[in-house]
Protein backbone atom coordinates (compact mmCIF):
# COMPACT_ATOMS: atom_id res chain seq x y z
CA UNK A 1 0.00 0.00 0.00
CA UNK A 2 2.92 2.35 0.76
CA UNK A 3 4.28 1.80 -2.75
CA UNK A 4 0.87 2.53 -4.20
CA UNK A 5 0.63 5.72 -2.12
CA UNK A 6 4.04 6.85 -3.39
CA UNK A 7 2.88 6.09 -6.90
CA UNK A 8 -0.31 8.13 -6.43
CA UNK A 9 1.65 11.05 -4.98
CA UNK A 10 4.06 10.84 -7.91
CA UNK A 11 1.09 11.07 -10.29
CA UNK A 12 -0.37 14.06 -8.43
CA UNK A 13 2.86 16.03 -8.35
CA UNK A 14 3.79 15.17 -11.94
CA UNK A 15 0.72 16.93 -13.28
CA UNK A 16 1.23 20.64 -14.01
CA UNK A 17 -2.31 21.43 -12.78
CA UNK A 18 -1.21 20.50 -9.25
CA UNK A 19 1.17 23.44 -9.24
CA UNK A 20 -1.58 25.79 -10.41
CA UNK A 21 -2.92 25.61 -6.85
CA UNK A 22 0.43 26.50 -5.26
CA UNK A 23 1.02 29.27 -7.82
CA UNK A 24 -2.51 30.66 -7.43
CA UNK A 25 -2.26 30.77 -3.64
CA UNK A 26 1.16 32.43 -3.81
CA UNK A 27 -0.14 35.01 -6.29
CA UNK A 28 -3.31 35.80 -4.29
CA UNK A 29 -1.46 36.10 -0.97
CA UNK A 30 1.40 38.18 -2.33
CA UNK A 31 -1.01 40.52 -4.12
CA UNK A 32 -3.00 41.00 -0.90
CA UNK A 33 0.21 41.57 1.08
CA UNK A 34 1.40 44.22 -1.39
CA UNK A 35 -2.01 45.89 -1.28
CA UNK A 36 -2.07 45.91 2.54
CA UNK A 37 1.53 47.12 2.68
CA UNK A 38 0.50 50.23 0.77
CA UNK A 39 -3.18 50.68 1.68
CA UNK A 40 -3.56 48.51 4.77
CA UNK A 41 -4.39 51.45 7.02
CA UNK A 42 -7.40 52.33 4.86
CA UNK A 43 -8.58 48.72 5.05
CA UNK A 44 -8.35 48.71 8.85
CA UNK A 45 -10.18 52.05 8.90
CA UNK A 46 -12.95 50.58 6.76
CA UNK A 47 -13.35 47.70 9.20
CA UNK A 48 -13.33 49.88 12.31
CA UNK A 49 -14.87 53.10 11.02
CA UNK A 50 -17.86 52.84 13.38
CA UNK A 51 -15.49 53.20 16.36
CA UNK A 52 -13.63 56.20 15.06
CA UNK A 53 -15.86 58.69 16.90
CA UNK A 54 -15.46 56.95 20.25
CA UNK A 55 -11.87 55.68 20.36
CA UNK A 56 -8.42 56.64 19.19
CA UNK A 57 -7.58 53.59 17.13
CA UNK A 58 -3.90 52.70 16.57
CA UNK A 59 -4.37 51.70 12.94
CA UNK A 60 -0.67 51.22 12.21
CA UNK A 61 -0.24 48.89 15.17
CA UNK A 62 -3.32 46.85 14.26
CA UNK A 63 -1.99 46.32 10.75
CA UNK A 64 0.66 43.80 11.81
CA UNK A 65 1.69 40.39 10.47
CA UNK A 66 -0.78 38.45 12.61
CA UNK A 67 -3.69 40.66 11.54
CA UNK A 68 -2.67 40.48 7.86
CA UNK A 69 -2.50 36.67 8.14
CA UNK A 70 -6.03 36.55 9.56
CA UNK A 71 -7.35 38.95 6.91
CA UNK A 72 -5.82 36.82 4.13
CA UNK A 73 -7.32 33.62 5.52
CA UNK A 74 -10.74 35.31 5.46
CA UNK A 75 -10.27 36.24 1.84
CA UNK A 76 -9.24 32.68 0.91
CA UNK A 77 -12.42 31.03 2.23
CA UNK A 78 -13.67 30.09 -1.24
CA UNK A 79 -10.43 29.90 -3.19
CA UNK A 80 -8.54 27.17 -1.36
CA UNK A 81 -11.44 24.65 -1.47
CA UNK A 82 -11.60 25.20 -5.23
CA UNK A 83 -7.91 24.43 -5.52
CA UNK A 84 -8.31 21.26 -3.46
CA UNK A 85 -11.18 20.15 -5.72
CA UNK A 86 -8.91 20.64 -8.72
CA UNK A 87 -6.81 17.66 -7.66
CA UNK A 88 -9.31 15.51 -5.72
CA UNK A 89 -11.90 15.66 -8.51
CA UNK A 90 -9.35 14.24 -10.92
CA UNK A 91 -8.22 11.30 -8.78
CA UNK A 92 -10.60 8.65 -10.14
CA UNK A 93 -12.40 10.42 -12.99
CA UNK A 94 -9.04 11.42 -14.49
CA UNK A 95 -8.01 7.76 -14.65
CA UNK A 96 -11.36 6.87 -16.20
CA UNK A 97 -10.95 9.66 -18.73
CA UNK A 98 -7.48 8.48 -19.74
CA UNK A 99 -8.62 4.85 -19.86
CA UNK A 100 -6.18 3.68 -17.17
CA UNK A 101 -8.75 2.91 -14.47
CA UNK A 102 -9.65 -0.53 -15.83
CA UNK A 103 -5.96 -1.38 -16.01
CA UNK A 104 -5.44 -0.16 -12.46
CA UNK A 105 -8.11 -2.39 -10.94
CA UNK A 106 -6.61 -5.48 -12.54
CA UNK A 107 -3.68 -5.08 -10.10
CA UNK A 108 -3.66 -7.44 -7.08
CA UNK A 109 -5.13 -4.91 -4.69
CA UNK A 110 -8.70 -4.56 -3.50
CA UNK A 111 -10.85 -1.72 -4.78
CA UNK A 112 -11.23 -0.45 -1.21
CA UNK A 113 -7.46 -0.26 -0.71
CA UNK A 114 -7.01 1.36 -4.10
CA UNK A 115 -9.57 4.04 -3.30
CA UNK A 116 -8.26 4.61 0.24
CA UNK A 117 -4.74 5.02 -1.11
CA UNK A 118 -5.95 7.58 -3.63
CA UNK A 119 -7.83 9.38 -0.88
CA UNK A 120 -4.77 9.45 1.41
CA UNK A 121 -2.78 10.91 -1.46
CA UNK A 122 -5.42 13.65 -1.65
CA UNK A 123 -5.11 14.22 2.10
CA UNK A 124 -1.32 14.57 1.81
CA UNK A 125 -1.72 17.02 -1.08
CA UNK A 126 -4.24 19.03 0.96
CA UNK A 127 -1.90 19.07 3.95
CA UNK A 128 1.01 20.32 1.84
CA UNK A 129 -1.26 23.01 0.36
CA UNK A 130 -2.22 24.16 3.88
CA UNK A 131 1.45 24.26 4.95
CA UNK A 132 2.24 26.35 1.86
CA UNK A 133 -0.67 28.67 2.64
CA UNK A 134 0.42 28.94 6.29
CA UNK A 135 3.97 29.77 5.26
CA UNK A 136 2.93 32.55 2.88
CA UNK A 137 0.06 33.81 4.94
CA UNK A 138 1.65 33.85 8.37
CA UNK A 139 5.45 33.57 8.10
CA UNK A 140 5.83 35.99 5.19
CA UNK A 141 3.28 38.43 6.69
CA UNK A 142 5.13 38.42 10.02
CA UNK A 143 8.44 39.00 8.21
CA UNK A 144 6.95 41.89 6.22
CA UNK A 145 4.78 43.54 8.85
CA UNK A 146 6.18 42.39 12.22
CA UNK A 147 4.11 41.22 15.16
CA UNK A 148 1.79 42.87 17.65
CA UNK A 149 -1.49 42.06 19.36
CA UNK A 150 -4.12 40.57 17.07
CA UNK A 151 -7.41 42.48 16.77
CA UNK A 152 -10.36 40.43 15.50
CA UNK A 153 -13.49 42.17 14.21
CA UNK A 154 -16.66 40.19 14.81
CA UNK A 155 -20.18 41.26 13.94
CA UNK A 156 -20.86 42.79 17.39
CA UNK A 157 -17.50 42.55 19.12
CA UNK A 158 -13.91 43.55 18.80
CA UNK A 159 -11.47 41.09 20.35
CA UNK A 160 -7.85 41.74 21.19
CA UNK A 161 -5.44 38.85 21.64
CA UNK A 162 -1.99 39.48 23.11
CA UNK A 163 0.80 38.68 20.67
CA UNK A 164 2.23 35.99 22.96
CA UNK A 165 -1.15 34.23 22.82
CA UNK A 166 -1.57 34.18 19.04
CA UNK A 167 0.76 31.57 17.53
CA UNK A 168 -0.83 28.45 19.07
CA UNK A 169 -4.20 29.70 17.80
CA UNK A 170 -2.84 29.83 14.26
CA UNK A 171 -1.43 26.30 14.57
CA UNK A 172 -4.80 25.00 15.87
CA UNK A 173 -6.68 26.96 13.18
CA UNK A 174 -4.51 25.55 10.39
CA UNK A 175 -5.03 22.05 11.81
CA UNK A 176 -8.80 22.59 11.85
CA UNK A 177 -8.67 24.18 8.39
CA UNK A 178 -6.90 21.08 7.06
CA UNK A 179 -9.80 18.91 8.29
CA UNK A 180 -12.28 21.31 6.62
CA UNK A 181 -10.41 21.07 3.33
CA UNK A 182 -10.27 17.28 3.60
CA UNK A 183 -14.09 17.36 3.66
CA UNK A 184 -13.96 19.24 0.34
CA UNK A 185 -11.42 16.73 -0.96
CA UNK A 186 -13.62 13.79 0.08
CA UNK A 187 -16.70 15.35 -1.55
CA UNK A 188 -14.79 15.94 -4.75
CA UNK A 189 -13.40 12.41 -4.48
CA UNK A 190 -16.93 10.98 -4.19
CA UNK A 191 -18.07 12.95 -7.24
CA UNK A 192 -14.95 11.77 -9.04
CA UNK A 193 -16.00 8.16 -8.50
CA UNK A 194 -19.38 8.96 -10.07
CA UNK A 195 -17.92 10.52 -13.20
CA UNK A 196 -15.78 9.53 -16.15
CA UNK A 197 -14.57 13.06 -16.76
CA UNK A 198 -12.64 15.14 -14.22
CA UNK A 199 -14.22 18.47 -15.23
CA UNK A 200 -17.61 17.39 -13.88
CA UNK A 201 -16.54 16.62 -10.29
CA UNK A 202 -14.38 19.74 -10.07
CA UNK A 203 -17.16 22.06 -11.29
CA UNK A 204 -19.79 20.28 -9.19
CA UNK A 205 -17.67 20.60 -6.02
CA UNK A 206 -17.08 24.30 -6.66
CA UNK A 207 -20.79 24.85 -7.29
CA UNK A 208 -21.76 23.03 -4.07
CA UNK A 209 -19.27 25.05 -2.01
CA UNK A 210 -20.47 28.36 -3.46
CA UNK A 211 -24.16 27.53 -2.92
CA UNK A 212 -23.56 26.21 0.62
CA UNK A 213 -21.39 29.19 1.55
CA UNK A 214 -24.05 31.63 0.36
CA UNK A 215 -26.70 29.75 2.35
CA UNK A 216 -24.44 29.77 5.41
CA UNK A 217 -23.84 33.52 5.27
CA UNK A 218 -27.16 34.92 4.03
CA UNK A 219 -28.68 35.09 7.53
CA UNK A 220 -32.18 34.13 6.41
CA UNK A 221 -34.00 32.65 9.43
CA UNK A 222 -35.59 29.76 7.52
CA UNK A 223 -32.15 28.55 6.37
CA UNK A 224 -30.43 29.44 9.65
CA UNK A 225 -32.67 27.11 11.63
CA UNK A 226 -33.24 24.28 9.20
CA UNK A 227 -30.39 23.88 6.73
CA UNK A 228 -27.44 25.87 8.00
CA UNK A 229 -26.54 23.70 11.04
CA UNK A 230 -26.09 20.72 8.72
CA UNK A 231 -24.02 22.35 6.00
CA UNK A 232 -20.35 21.43 6.15
CA UNK A 233 -19.47 24.96 4.99
CA UNK A 234 -20.93 26.29 8.27
CA UNK A 235 -18.61 24.07 10.28
CA UNK A 236 -15.59 24.65 8.06
CA UNK A 237 -15.45 28.15 9.59
CA UNK A 238 -14.70 26.52 12.94
CA UNK A 239 -11.01 27.42 12.54
CA UNK A 240 -12.05 30.98 13.40
CA UNK A 241 -13.31 29.81 16.78
CA UNK A 242 -9.69 29.48 17.95
CA UNK A 243 -9.36 33.26 17.60
CA UNK A 244 -12.51 34.02 19.61
CA UNK A 245 -10.85 34.61 22.95
CA UNK A 246 -12.99 34.41 26.10
CA UNK A 247 -13.37 37.26 28.57
CA UNK A 248 -14.33 37.75 32.20
CA UNK A 249 -17.41 39.65 33.42
CA UNK A 250 -15.55 42.96 33.12
CA UNK A 251 -14.73 42.29 29.47
CA UNK A 252 -11.03 41.60 30.10
CA UNK A 253 -9.76 38.84 27.84
CA UNK A 254 -8.40 35.67 29.43
CA UNK A 255 -5.09 34.56 27.98
CA UNK A 256 -5.15 31.07 26.46
CA UNK A 257 -8.95 30.82 26.50
CA UNK A 258 -11.51 30.10 23.75
CA UNK A 259 -15.11 31.37 23.84
CA UNK A 260 -16.93 28.28 22.61
CA UNK A 261 -14.59 25.32 22.64
CA UNK A 262 -17.46 22.81 22.72
CA UNK A 263 -18.90 24.32 19.52
CA UNK A 264 -15.54 23.93 17.81
CA UNK A 265 -15.32 20.31 18.91
CA UNK A 266 -18.88 19.73 17.67
CA UNK A 267 -17.98 21.24 14.29
CA UNK A 268 -14.83 19.10 14.22
CA UNK A 269 -16.87 15.96 14.87
CA UNK A 270 -19.39 16.90 12.16
CA UNK A 271 -16.58 17.46 9.64
CA UNK A 272 -15.04 14.08 10.49
CA UNK A 273 -18.52 12.59 10.04
CA UNK A 274 -18.77 14.17 6.59
CA UNK A 275 -15.36 12.79 5.60
CA UNK A 276 -16.41 9.32 6.73
CA UNK A 277 -19.74 9.64 4.88
CA UNK A 278 -18.24 10.84 1.60
CA UNK A 279 -15.31 8.38 1.56
CA UNK A 280 -17.37 5.35 2.58
CA UNK A 281 -20.02 6.27 -0.02
CA UNK A 282 -17.26 6.55 -2.63
CA UNK A 283 -15.94 3.10 -1.65
CA UNK A 284 -19.40 1.48 -1.73
CA UNK A 285 -20.20 2.99 -5.13
CA UNK A 286 -16.79 2.16 -6.54
CA UNK A 287 -16.98 -1.45 -5.37
CA UNK A 288 -20.28 -1.92 -7.17
CA UNK A 289 -19.34 0.08 -10.22
CA UNK A 290 -18.93 -1.61 -13.54
CA UNK A 291 -15.66 -0.17 -14.80
CA UNK A 292 -15.83 0.12 -18.56
CA UNK A 293 -13.26 2.84 -19.19
Amino acid sequence: MWNLLQFELFKIFKKPRTYIAFGAIAAIILLIQIALLTNGKEYVKFMLSSLDDTLDIPYDQIRNGYWIGFAILNLLLIHVPILVALVAGDMVAGEANMGTLRLLITKPISRTNLLLTKFFACVIYTFILVVWTAFLCLVVSVLLFGTNDLVISKEFELLQIEKTDVLWRYIAAFGFGTVGLIVVASLSFLLSVLSDNSIGPIVATVAIIIVFTIMSEMQIPIYDKTVKPYLFTTHMLGWKGFFYIDSDVDGQTIKGSIQHFSSIMKSFAILIGYIFLFVSSAIIIFKKKDILS
Binding site: S50, D53, T54, Q61, S153, E155, F156, Y244, G251, Q252
Partner: protein, 232 residues
Protein backbone atom coordinates in the same frame (compact mmCIF):
# COMPACT_ATOMS: atom_id res chain seq x y z
CA UNK B 1 -37.44 96.84 62.11
CA UNK B 2 -35.65 98.94 59.49
CA UNK B 3 -32.35 98.41 61.30
CA UNK B 4 -32.85 94.68 61.40
CA UNK B 5 -33.60 94.60 57.67
CA UNK B 6 -30.46 96.62 56.84
CA UNK B 7 -28.41 94.35 59.12
CA UNK B 8 -29.74 91.21 57.42
CA UNK B 9 -29.08 92.69 53.97
CA UNK B 10 -25.52 93.60 54.85
CA UNK B 11 -24.92 90.19 56.41
CA UNK B 12 -26.27 88.49 53.27
CA UNK B 13 -24.09 90.62 50.99
CA UNK B 14 -21.03 89.97 53.13
CA UNK B 15 -21.54 86.21 53.32
CA UNK B 16 -22.24 85.78 49.60
CA UNK B 17 -19.17 87.80 48.76
CA UNK B 18 -16.95 85.72 51.05
CA UNK B 19 -18.63 82.55 49.77
CA UNK B 20 -17.79 83.44 46.16
CA UNK B 21 -14.29 84.37 47.15
CA UNK B 22 -14.06 81.05 48.90
CA UNK B 23 -14.77 79.24 45.64
CA UNK B 24 -11.98 81.15 43.91
CA UNK B 25 -9.66 80.41 46.79
CA UNK B 26 -10.47 76.72 46.71
CA UNK B 27 -9.86 76.54 43.00
CA UNK B 28 -6.61 78.49 43.36
CA UNK B 29 -5.42 76.08 46.06
CA UNK B 30 -6.25 73.14 43.81
CA UNK B 31 -4.32 74.79 41.01
CA UNK B 32 -1.37 75.58 43.27
CA UNK B 33 -1.13 71.94 44.15
CA UNK B 34 -1.34 70.84 40.53
CA UNK B 35 1.15 73.49 39.48
CA UNK B 36 3.82 71.71 41.49
CA UNK B 37 3.92 69.22 38.63
CA UNK B 38 5.62 70.35 35.44
CA UNK B 39 5.76 66.88 33.94
CA UNK B 40 5.49 63.27 34.95
CA UNK B 41 6.00 59.77 33.67
CA UNK B 42 3.69 57.30 35.35
CA UNK B 43 3.35 53.57 34.97
CA UNK B 44 0.23 51.63 35.73
CA UNK B 45 -2.41 49.14 34.69
CA UNK B 46 -5.30 50.01 32.45
CA UNK B 47 -8.60 48.09 32.39
CA UNK B 48 -11.02 48.87 29.59
CA UNK B 49 -14.71 48.11 30.00
CA UNK B 50 -16.76 48.70 26.88
CA UNK B 51 -19.62 46.39 25.94
CA UNK B 52 -18.30 45.55 22.46
CA UNK B 53 -14.59 45.62 23.30
CA UNK B 54 -12.83 42.58 24.75
CA UNK B 55 -9.26 43.54 25.52
CA UNK B 56 -6.60 42.39 27.98
CA UNK B 57 -5.48 44.40 31.01
CA UNK B 58 -2.71 46.62 29.66
CA UNK B 59 0.52 47.78 31.25
CA UNK B 60 0.67 51.43 30.29
CA UNK B 61 2.93 54.43 30.65
CA UNK B 62 1.32 57.81 30.95
CA UNK B 63 3.31 60.90 30.05
CA UNK B 64 2.26 64.43 30.96
CA UNK B 65 3.90 67.77 30.30
CA UNK B 66 2.63 71.24 31.01
CA UNK B 67 0.48 72.82 29.84
CA UNK B 68 -1.69 70.15 28.21
CA UNK B 69 0.36 67.33 26.67
CA UNK B 70 -0.72 63.82 27.56
CA UNK B 71 0.18 60.47 26.05
CA UNK B 72 -0.86 56.96 27.06
CA UNK B 73 1.35 54.21 25.67
CA UNK B 74 0.85 50.48 25.97
CA UNK B 75 4.21 48.99 26.88
CA UNK B 76 3.63 45.62 25.24
CA UNK B 77 0.83 45.87 22.72
CA UNK B 78 -2.16 47.79 21.43
CA UNK B 79 -4.48 50.03 23.44
CA UNK B 80 -7.77 51.61 22.46
CA UNK B 81 -7.85 55.02 24.13
CA UNK B 82 -11.19 56.85 24.33
CA UNK B 83 -11.49 60.23 22.70
CA UNK B 84 -11.29 62.90 25.38
CA UNK B 85 -8.94 60.81 27.49
CA UNK B 86 -6.76 63.90 27.72
CA UNK B 87 -9.03 64.79 30.65
CA UNK B 88 -7.53 61.86 32.56
CA UNK B 89 -5.00 64.40 33.70
CA UNK B 90 -6.99 66.92 35.68
CA UNK B 91 -4.43 69.65 34.93
CA UNK B 92 -5.78 69.61 31.40
CA UNK B 93 -9.25 70.48 32.63
CA UNK B 94 -7.89 73.54 34.41
CA UNK B 95 -5.41 74.60 31.72
CA UNK B 96 -7.67 77.19 30.27
CA UNK B 97 -7.85 80.12 32.65
CA UNK B 98 -10.58 81.83 30.71
CA UNK B 99 -13.63 80.44 32.42
CA UNK B 100 -16.41 81.69 34.59
CA UNK B 101 -16.52 80.07 38.01
CA UNK B 102 -19.88 79.12 39.46
CA UNK B 103 -20.46 77.83 42.94
CA UNK B 104 -22.41 74.58 42.93
CA UNK B 105 -22.67 74.40 46.72
CA UNK B 106 -21.80 71.48 48.92
CA UNK B 107 -22.52 67.84 48.10
CA UNK B 108 -21.61 64.39 49.35
CA UNK B 109 -19.54 61.84 47.49
CA UNK B 110 -19.90 58.66 49.49
CA UNK B 111 -19.14 59.78 53.03
CA UNK B 112 -17.03 62.74 51.98
CA UNK B 113 -18.27 66.31 51.89
CA UNK B 114 -17.22 68.01 48.69
CA UNK B 115 -17.48 71.48 47.26
CA UNK B 116 -19.03 71.59 43.81
CA UNK B 117 -17.50 74.11 41.43
CA UNK B 118 -18.67 74.62 37.88
CA UNK B 119 -16.43 76.06 35.20
CA UNK B 120 -17.93 77.67 32.13
CA UNK B 121 -15.20 78.19 29.53
CA UNK B 122 -15.20 81.53 27.75
CA UNK B 123 -14.86 81.51 23.99
CA UNK B 124 -11.30 80.82 22.99
CA UNK B 125 -11.07 79.64 19.41
CA UNK B 126 -7.36 78.88 19.77
CA UNK B 127 -7.85 76.55 22.70
CA UNK B 128 -8.02 72.81 22.12
CA UNK B 129 -10.64 72.84 24.87
CA UNK B 130 -13.09 74.83 22.79
CA UNK B 131 -15.21 71.67 22.55
CA UNK B 132 -15.93 71.87 26.30
CA UNK B 133 -19.26 73.36 27.34
CA UNK B 134 -19.12 72.83 31.10
CA UNK B 135 -16.80 71.26 33.65
CA UNK B 136 -18.00 70.37 37.13
CA UNK B 137 -15.46 69.67 39.86
CA UNK B 138 -16.08 67.97 43.20
CA UNK B 139 -13.33 69.06 45.58
CA UNK B 140 -12.69 67.74 49.09
CA UNK B 141 -11.31 69.52 52.18
CA UNK B 142 -7.73 68.67 51.16
CA UNK B 143 -8.20 70.54 47.87
CA UNK B 144 -8.17 67.31 45.89
CA UNK B 145 -10.55 66.83 43.00
CA UNK B 146 -12.43 63.60 43.67
CA UNK B 147 -14.69 63.80 40.67
CA UNK B 148 -14.91 65.85 37.48
CA UNK B 149 -17.60 65.93 34.83
CA UNK B 150 -16.91 67.47 31.46
CA UNK B 151 -19.69 68.13 28.99
CA UNK B 152 -18.59 68.64 25.40
CA UNK B 153 -20.32 69.87 22.25
CA UNK B 154 -19.60 66.86 20.08
CA UNK B 155 -18.45 63.97 22.25
CA UNK B 156 -21.00 63.79 25.04
CA UNK B 157 -20.08 63.82 28.71
CA UNK B 158 -16.89 62.48 30.26
CA UNK B 159 -16.68 61.64 33.92
CA UNK B 160 -13.57 61.27 35.98
CA UNK B 161 -13.39 59.70 39.44
CA UNK B 162 -10.15 59.78 41.33
CA UNK B 163 -8.79 58.34 44.54
CA UNK B 164 -5.55 59.48 46.10
CA UNK B 165 -2.65 57.97 48.01
CA UNK B 166 0.99 58.81 48.39
CA UNK B 167 1.07 61.37 45.55
CA UNK B 168 -1.84 63.40 46.96
CA UNK B 169 0.59 66.21 47.77
CA UNK B 170 0.98 66.82 44.05
CA UNK B 171 -2.71 66.33 43.35
CA UNK B 172 -1.90 63.13 41.44
CA UNK B 173 -4.29 60.20 41.88
CA UNK B 174 -3.48 56.55 42.54
CA UNK B 175 -6.54 55.44 40.65
CA UNK B 176 -8.65 57.04 37.94
CA UNK B 177 -11.93 55.82 36.50
CA UNK B 178 -12.77 57.57 33.26
CA UNK B 179 -16.33 57.13 31.98
CA UNK B 180 -17.22 58.07 28.43
CA UNK B 181 -20.04 57.69 25.91
CA UNK B 182 -19.85 54.98 23.30
CA UNK B 183 -21.65 54.45 20.05
CA UNK B 184 -22.98 51.24 18.59
CA UNK B 185 -20.55 48.87 16.94
CA UNK B 186 -21.61 46.54 14.17
CA UNK B 187 -19.99 45.09 11.08
CA UNK B 188 -22.11 43.19 8.54
CA UNK B 189 -21.66 39.45 8.95
CA UNK B 190 -21.10 39.23 5.21
CA UNK B 191 -17.86 41.13 5.78
CA UNK B 192 -16.65 39.36 8.91
CA UNK B 193 -17.72 35.79 7.93
CA UNK B 194 -18.12 34.96 11.62
CA UNK B 195 -18.09 31.41 12.80
CA UNK B 196 -21.64 31.56 14.11
CA UNK B 197 -22.07 28.12 15.63
CA UNK B 198 -22.27 29.90 18.99
CA UNK B 199 -25.15 32.11 17.67
CA UNK B 200 -23.85 35.24 19.40
CA UNK B 201 -26.64 37.73 20.00
CA UNK B 202 -26.43 41.47 19.57
CA UNK B 203 -25.66 43.29 22.83
CA UNK B 204 -28.50 45.04 24.64
CA UNK B 205 -28.38 48.55 23.20
CA UNK B 206 -30.11 50.14 26.18
CA UNK B 207 -27.18 49.47 28.50
CA UNK B 208 -24.38 49.73 26.02
CA UNK B 209 -23.95 53.48 25.90
CA UNK B 210 -21.21 53.98 28.50
CA UNK B 211 -17.67 52.72 28.64
CA UNK B 212 -14.99 53.07 31.30
CA UNK B 213 -11.26 52.84 31.54
CA UNK B 214 -9.69 52.37 34.91
CA UNK B 215 -6.06 53.27 35.42
CA UNK B 216 -4.30 52.15 38.58
CA UNK B 217 -1.04 54.03 38.92
CA UNK B 218 1.96 52.21 40.36
CA UNK B 219 4.69 54.83 40.17
CA UNK B 220 5.16 58.46 39.21
CA UNK B 221 8.40 60.09 38.16
CA UNK B 222 7.64 63.76 38.75
CA UNK B 223 9.48 66.77 37.28
CA UNK B 224 12.31 64.77 35.75
CA UNK B 225 12.03 66.59 32.43
CA UNK B 226 10.28 65.05 29.44
CA UNK B 227 11.14 65.53 25.80
CA UNK B 228 8.37 66.68 23.44
CA UNK B 229 9.26 63.74 21.20
CA UNK B 230 7.49 61.43 23.67
CA UNK B 231 4.15 62.96 22.72
CA UNK B 232 4.48 62.42 18.96
Amino acid sequence: MKKIFVFLLLTRCFTSSSYAQNVNTILQKVKDKLNLVNDYEASGEMKTKVVFLKVPVASVKIYYKKPDKLKIKNEKGISFIPKGAVSININNVLTNNAFTILDGGIAKLGNTNVRVIKLLPEDDPDSYRDDVVLSTLYIDDNFLILKAKTTTKDNGTYELEMSYGKYAGYGLPDKVIFTFNTKDYKIPKGVTFDYSEDQKKAPDKTKARKGTIQITYKTYLINKGLSDAVFK
